[in-house]
């Protein structure tokens, strides 16, 4: 009872603390100086129409690298905690129709995913969204095709290599002394083209691959069954 009361007090207190922000909130009429620079710079310096992409991949590229790392860590953590020993098949069956349809769908989904992350600098979306789309394609495969086994080795390979190349691209910038993760290591190209904005599409593609493989890894790890024997063994 006291507990409930304290919870209510806590939440109301939070509300009281946050309220002044709402009361004093004024929707800004102008961009902040920093945002203006980003908007201008995205066009002039990076030749990337999608300002958000410019910010994510270039200006705040270190954040994005960190973000990829967080996801990587989560993948590791999930794998570390679950430590799958072997997969046990379940008694579910899937009709042949679904299997065929889904394999057709999967190829479409994959193409979509790749499209999203290669066009990250031109249109909404990018590596993360594309990566998720690819992961969802694999998810569909896992759900529909029981015999489908994702090779963790391949996933890990893709994950590692894309991550490594991502860091290496950054490193090239550092070695060329133009800055870590500077996309200008590749020609900036013509504004609005697919192959423009320097290394942004490349980086976003790598992010897409990495995120896709990481998420697939998470799903595959969590979805796979644990053999009940191992549970019994550990409890002893």
């Amino acid at each position: 009872m006291i507990n409930k009361l304290l919870i209510i007090i806590g939440i109301i207190g939070m509300l009281l603390i946050l309220l002044p922000i709402l009361v004093n909130f004024q929707s800004p009429t102008n961009l902040s100086a920093l945002a203006e620079e980003y908007v201008r710079g995205s066009v002039n310096d990076l030749k990337s129409p999608n300002v958000v992409t410019s910010v994510v991949v270039t200006y705040r590229g270190l954040d994005t690298l960190g973000e990829v790392t967080v996801l990587f860590l989560a993948t590791l953590g999930v794998g570390f905690l679950l430590e799958n020993k072997k997969n046990k098949s379940t008694q579910r069956t899937v009709s042949e129709n679904i299997r065929t349809t889904s394999s057709f769908l999967v190829s479409l989904i994959m193409v979509l995913g790749i499209y999203i992350f290669t066009h990250g600098h031109l249109s909404p979306g990018g590596g993360f969204q594309g990566g998720v789309v690819i992961a969802s394609g694999f998810l569909l495969l896992i759900l529909s095709d029981l015999d489908f086994k994702i090779s963790h080795a391949i996933l890990r390979f893709v994950e590692s290599i894309s991550g490594l190349v991502y860091v290496l691209i950054g490193l090239i910038g550092l070695v060329l002394t133009i800055g870590f993760l500077n996309p200008a290591i590749l020609p900036l190209g013509k504004y609005g083209d697919l192959f423009s904005a320097g290394a942004i599409p490349l980086i976003y593609s790598l992010i897409g691959l990495k995120v896709g493989s990481e998420l697939t890894n998470i799903i595959a790890t969590m979805g796979s069954d644990r053999s009940s024997e191992s549970v019994v063994k550990e409890e002893r």
């Binding site: 909404p124 979306g125 969204q129 998720v132 789309v133 969802s136 969590m222 979805g223």
Partner: protein, 83 residues
Amino acid sequence: MNSLIIIGLGVIMIAAAIFTIYQKSIVSAIISAGVISLLASVIYLILGSPDVAMTEASIGSALTTVVFLYALNRMRKEKKDDK
């Protein structure tokens, strides 16, 4: 117009959030939490952030829900194994 849409969406989202808390069935709760994310992505679109909208729709609503369901599935299965 936008305000009206947002208020409408907001009411649904808050209702879904409350539903998530008080729903006995965990699966329904997970789904309704996914709905919140999905509606949030609509809001992002209205707020001029299509990138965020895409991300929220794919990660926040779809993937998170899948992960939740998988985790739940794992737990349920173990319960069965125990019995």
